[in-house]
Amino acid sequence: MSDTVLLECDDLVKVFPGVRALDGVGLRLTAGTVHALLGENGAGKSTLIKVLTGVHSPDGGRLTWCGRQVQLRSPLEATRTGIGVVHQERNLIPGFSVAENITLQHPPSQRGLIDRQAMTAPALACLAELGVDLDPHQPVRELSVAQQQLVEIAKALHTESRVLLLDEPTASLSPQEAEHLFEVIRRLAGRGACVVFVSHKLEEVFAVCDTVTVLRDGKSVLESAPLADHTHDDIVGLMVGRAHTATELRPRTVDRSAAPTLVLDAVSTAGGHRDIGLEVRPGEIVGLYGLVGAGRSELVKAVLGLDRITGGEVRVHGTPARITSPRQALHEFGIGYVTENRKEEGVFLEQPVVRNITVTVWKRLAKALGFVSARAERDLAQGLVDRLCIRVSGLQQNAGELSGGNQQKVSLAKWLAADTKLLVIDEPTVGVDVRTKRAFHELIWDLAADGLPILLISSDLAEMVTLADRIVVMTDHRVRGEVDNDRDYDRVSGRAIRLIHDRDTVRS
């Protein structure tokens, strides 16, 4: 049973104008396994998934399903073959019930009339197979993101998928939800399916996967190998293509006696924060650590005027500040906010790179009658593109065409263009590959070394330990304590985690 090969690809090639997105990829998916598909952004994972699900047809190579050569000409054909996929974006009909979404492909019907009774049983069966307890009659829009994801997996079960591709399934899940998802994945593999797990989080990959394929520059550098034979560092080395060394950054010292740029003094907000105290000094990186939902982004948004501050005082450069809008935060106080959600809040996807970068400084560039010189815009943008090593084909390229990491850099560039006096960076490296992550870390570090105060929000403890000078730990909209970072991962992470979990000891 366990050595039945379900899907095999051989020497797959896919060429887009100017790029060989896939350049000889091999992959062997065996029944009953959880298969990790790894690679940096741009290594070809998305293209491979699109080829396997019939969205793109390959320009070369062979696909075999259970020993027979197949051609997948459309997503529907892939589904019929038995290949299901759960994308990063939710693909459900929000107004429909759970049961109707699960049976959407072939809704049970009689003479053109939907039979709602008949869709309940198969939906319940699929949900039960996943060990998920959901009301099949509930509209999907009322479910959480994690629940919606499970509905999508149930939908794939309903179409009898034997290969299930999960693209970054944990990106928007809390740790508990992710743990539940892993149980579901193991359960599916136990039933003889093959689950392909795409993730940037190596810890998860090692926790749940059996075999691994690593892509680099469109080639498979490690092909369907048992994961147990490889260490964390091996895999990173394969992905990056050079030995991974612990990030080395030039030394940087913080003048703790300098006057803080931003002070929060006993701040409460309408969102539920109470008694928040925080200081950020010039050249200092202050980390704001906590679990998802601890209220970190919400706190920053309140400071920027996107939510109401109900008590306490915010001081910028020593003077009390009433900030009512991000516009005021930027123009009067020089506070820039690099958002977590770059696709929806950070960049204008349909706009060229140059305009994305200069949006914050149009006022400064503008001459008489609000005319913005194209040349001034171009010069400024080019400078930042070079400085941040943003990979673009040209300044006129639309931001939407860039990879995730480069989009994040564009988002950062626009704040640098504005000469901000304080930078708030929210989850800078979520969904970003290892190499870009390092480049980002160096960038943030250098900005601080040049004297810029930075407030860094991250759920990645390793990132915190690498970058932050002090780590402020938050849970339930309150500050639980502060850890001085001496860059010893075990010691610092231990203290931070203890602050989250042992609330009583902190209070006493």
């Binding site: 589904t79 974006e89 693909n91 492909q105 809704p107 009339l113 939907i114 009322e142 629940q147």
Partner: protein, 346 residues
Amino acid sequence: MNSVNTLAGQGSRAAGALRRFSRSTAAMLLVVVVAGYVALGIASSGAFFEGPSVRVFLQYLATPVLIGLAQMVALCVGQLNLAVGALGGFTACLMGVLMADHGVPAEVAVLVGLLTATAIGLATGVVIVATRINGFIVTLATMTILLGAQYRLTGTRTVDGYSRTLRDLGTSAPLNIPLVFVTALVAAALLAAFMYRTVAGRRLLAAGGNPLAARLSGISTDRQIVVAHTLSGLLVGVAAVTATASLPGVNRSVGGDWLLPSFAAPIIGGVALTGGSVAVFGTVLAAFVTRLIDAARAQFSLDPSWVNLLIGLVVLGTVAGGRLHQTRLEKSPQSPTALPQPGGAQ
């Protein structure tokens, strides 16, 4: 044991459905309609509850209901139909001219009218899908063309010498319930059954709710756009028939004031402009509300300009209220996270 469980399950489901309904726009509108009607009744010292008043009230309700439904069908796949009024006016004039000037029997003229309106809707849908031009622009063009055609048909005259039978049907009201109103209600009921019960209707909604997900499930979104415009055309055709039957005559001004009410009814009724939702009951009730405003205007002999002002305000108020409600839902921490904006739903 098993049946008990099922019963309990159904009970809780019914309770859930009831709870959902009590929070819905339709429930709110139902309260507004009943309260408004009672208030008008009291203000008119009971005259408003009497047969003739009820009859007049319902007589002029048929058209707003039907054009609201026609717009709703277009909205449910994320499209819109600017040609509702022009198509209705053109169809009404076409039927009038066929009967009065060419002696075509009423049944044939009505059939030709319905088929023409449906065919024009179909053509609109096909053009939108084939050219990939935004539906706004295509229906704007259709509207202008049809306005020209309507003028060409009637010129400046009013065509009124047509079928007595059709007129009689249009004004007859057994038990003070006008037939045209019954027609509108039947159309609404059929449409509701189509949307909630048939596979074809669910496909329409799926394509409107999340085009990408629908495509991945083997549903052709292009086909759904064509179906929606065709259905919209058919409903406009029905509206034109009721208008022709109940108006004293048809001329170039028929349909001229349909566009705002056609949007007002579904929007007040709780239909999302982004597609994926229908509210047949809500749309019918919203048409009631706009009609109530009109009736109140007549009752208190206010200036007619108040009606449009009020309807405009109600539309804005509903949309703003819906927005506020949405924001409050998103901010309350215990509510399940709302769907991330489906990227393909623009």
